[in-house]
Symmetry: C2
Subunit: 275 residues, 2 copies
Amino acid sequence: MILLDGKKLADKILAELKQRVFESPKKLRLAVIVVGDDPVVRQFIERKQKAAQNIGVDTRVYPFPDSMSTSELRARLAEIVHEEKNTGVIVQLPLPEKINSQYILNGILPSKDVDLLSARSLGLLAAGRSHILPPVAGAVKALLEEYQIDYHAKKIAVVGAGQLVGKPIVLWLLNEKATFSVIRSSTLNPGEILRNSDIIITGIGKPNFLTGDMIKEGVVIIDAGTSESAGKIVGDVDPDSVAAKAAYLTPVPGGVGPLTVAILLKNLVSRARRG
Amino acid sequence: MILLDGKKLADKILAELKQRVFESPKKLRLAVIVVGDDPVVRQFIERKQKAAQNIGVDTRVYPFPDSMSTSELRARLAEIVHEEKNTGVIVQLPLPEKINSQYILNGILPSKDVDLLSARSLGLLAAGRSHILPPVAGAVKALLEEYQIDYHAKKIAVVGAGQLVGKPIVLWLLNEKATFSVIRSSTLNPGEILRNSDIIITGIGKPNFLTGDMIKEGVVIIDAGTSESAGKIVGDVDPDSVAAKAAYLTPVPGGVGPLTVAILLKNLVSRARRG
């Protein structure tokens, strides 16, 4: 089994971006909206800040208390989006349960929406008219291309259809002319589809969900799941269990995660160029 | 094999709509933009006009010559969309090759977009925030519900991912928490997935594409394909070939077609109520 080195590819992409940022006459800034104070979330934000800093992009974190209402947050978001210094704006998910996430995300103008989570960005993506990809989709695409794994004539399984992984992956694959299946928690016998898949992309946040008995020989596994287990970030795959059968696997950490951050910053640079 | 009577269900929906239209203080009008003069397309438009007339909804067809450019058409569309009398606006597809279809469709305001083909409508749909469904998705949903065919715990195959059938079906299924696979012309061995599917929805416009050897016993087949064969509208399924194995099949004509028209008009009535 070969480990797909997302970290290495991320560093390569970031080095290219650094050069582009250096040549850009405009100072770029990523605005990060955070509600509440979760240590795991803080860790994710710190990684984005660090990567941005390394390539010469500013970040500004806008922290808000858990008590924030949907309408207050949307009003503050509007100000942040219209602040000229912010070239890209992201909202760190998940937001507290009581907040209507999609309504908040819809407040991000497409020109500053580097995560592609607003309804307008999703629409352009679904219509095949987006110039950039959602970070996780861009990360998976970059990784498959880097390792020259053709995915057009393969059977792809997408596990989960959530806002951050499954849905953006599906919208990307729809326009890639790919053959794919969507599996979710309601799927009665996921192994039946998984054992027939050449590429498996997981994004459900369930540690050790994918095991060796659910896959076929030679499968490519992209683990885009993230959950916390004993203070560590883990994926959806049990690496030891799949090792004997899988041809490729993204490790967690060091797989999809750092690449997603790199593509987010690539989106920021692309958006700024067009804006 | 039981034929799923789309025509009968369409008539039932239209009868309910007729009552709602009768009670509405506002006169409703569907604007239909047509480029070129194709006899099959004319037939589709006539069906929409007839159904609308039967429930007391006006239609106005705006015909344009094949020579129309994208920018001219978009400019005319803007006027038609802003005409107050038009409560809903649709663009009859396909448009001539040289016209950028998605750019034209994006000119329809969400409040008048009863076909849900603009990027903004697709985005609201993808985000799970649309109050109405694309006509073909609404038709399939209505048919499955009418015949009490549960589709949530089943494996669904969607054949084709085109603008008019496959893509809207996928965006609907994404938010329905359904398990589904997307098969397209690039899929190497479609039968492998199809023979493992409980429900098959086709929308590719290839007569006799789906045959008995590609399906399993007891499958539900929804034929949303339309093509012309010897002057007749035909679907994607070879009905004689699947008859011995399929539990249900939508006939063509009289299946998804008339229902799609009924749901289009239902969308018009719903949009007008909210507007």
